[in-house]
């Protein structure tokens, strides 16, 4: 990340040169590869945020993504890690309530972004996906709902039941008719075992079965 901010100026200059070249070529489908090839192993390759701009010159329309200057924010404490969560040392420290963190990995309709885009490692991607699911079910991400088709008439207003730490999807779970006695009780699962290693501040243990 430190190397990235040093090379930030180089990247913007490179992108400027390449966008000028592409507009003069007037070919619409030109792939712009922006990241510099470096010999340093483990550099985070990020292409930069682009803005799509459409230009019309007579009969030709040019649609291109112009790289925007991203202001260099705070640096991660562990820049030489592959996964963003390990870069910021947040391995076992996030939960379904950390919506500001989770919202960086979701699309506008609430789905997760693919791993090859975000750069997360497999376990953390799965944990984030689980936390995002729990946050959706708790109603903590109200603006990230999938768009309803037009002309959709809601049948009946469902009773708004508040919930949190829901592991299973709402329609998939059946009631426990025979819970059993204390020594052989059919327990209700709360939270998720993937988050078992989370840091507990205080003496309370994380209960996954209630």
């Amino acid at each position: 990340m430190a190397a990235r901010c040093v090379l930030g100026s180089i990247w913007t200059s490179l992108s400027g040169v390449k966008s000028v070249a592409s507009s003069s070529n007037m070919s619409v489908f030109q792939s712009i590869t922006n990241y510099p090839q470096l010999s340093v192993f483990g550099i985070i390759q990020s292409r930069g945020i682009r803005q799509v701009v459409e230009k019309k010159e007579g009969k030709t329309t040019i649609i291109e993504g112009l790289t925007q200057d991203t202001p260099t924010g705070p640096q991660p404490p562990n820049p030489t890690a592959q996964c963003p969560i390990y870069r910021w040392n947040l391995q076992n420290k996030y939960n379904y309530t950390d919506v500001l963190l989770l919202s960086q990995f979701i699309r506008s309709d609430g789905g997760m972004l693919p791993r090859r885009v975000t750069g997360l490692c497999a376990q953390e991607h799965r944990k984030i996906a689980i936390c995002v699911q729990m946050a959706h079910r708790a109603g903590l991400l109200p603006d990230h709902k999938p768009p309803l088709p037009e002309g959709h008439v809601p049948k009946k207003p469902k009773p708004q039941l508040n919930r949190y730490l829901t592991r299973w999807s709402i329609d998939s779970v059946k009631p426990i008719y025979r819970a059993g006695l204390k020594w052989c009780k059919n327990r209700i699962s709360v939270g998720h075992p993937a988050l078992r290693n989370n840091v507990q501040y205080g003496k309370k243990i994380l209960y996954l079965k209630h």
Binding site: L120, A138, K174, P175, I188
Partner: protein, 164 residues
């Protein structure tokens, strides 16, 4: 206080206070433990099971309780038949009531303690109860903030973990 007269001190010690609990987004079990402790009088150093030292507890917003996990779907309450948690709309009051009832000691004073528990579905409480309230108890569970409740400054202050 030592500066009060003996009779005033006695009155202050044995007076029955009224507590208020807001059950919005709270798990009903934790609300019920808080209620049961105060209805029995176990929060007082002068507690004795035979001396009627319990207080009144008013629970408001009991329609907005939150269950953890999939308890709305899985938890069953039984009377002569079995009732689903989310089936009857007016069931919310019953959930808290049954929880408190199960946490009180199984003796004859349980019914009197339940009479001192006042449950309300929303936060509009009648005048006479509002006048009686002495203290509001802190909520057991910290309510998490939704994404739209964070201000723009807080969102900008949060670092972006990755860039595309």
């Amino acid at each position: 206080m030592s500066s009060f007269t003996k009779s005033a001190q006695q009155w202050a010690t044995f007076a029955r206070s009224w507590y208020l609990i807001d059950a919005r987004m709270q798990p009903p079990g934790k609300i019920a433990t808080m209620c049961a402790i105060r209805l029995q009088g176990k929060h007082k150093p002068i507690y004795h099971a035979l001396s009627d030292v319990g207080d009144h507890v008013v629970v408001m917003n009991s329609r907005h309780i939150a269950f953890s996990g999939n308890k709305w779907e899985q938890k069953m309450y039984s009377s002569h038949t079995q009732v689903h948690s989310s089936s009857i709309f007016l069931f919310f009051l019953q959930i808290v009531k049954l929880a408190v009832y199960g946490m009180l000691p199984r003796n004859l004073s349980r019914r009197t303690m339940m009479q001192r528990l006042h449950l309300f579905p929303e936060d509009d409480l009648p005048e006479d109860i509002l006048l009686n309230l002495t203290e509001e108890l802190p909520q057991p569970r910290e309510i998490p903030r939704r994404l739209n409740e964070y201000s723009q400054e807080e969102r900008e202050a949060f670092p972006t973990l990755w860039t595309p």
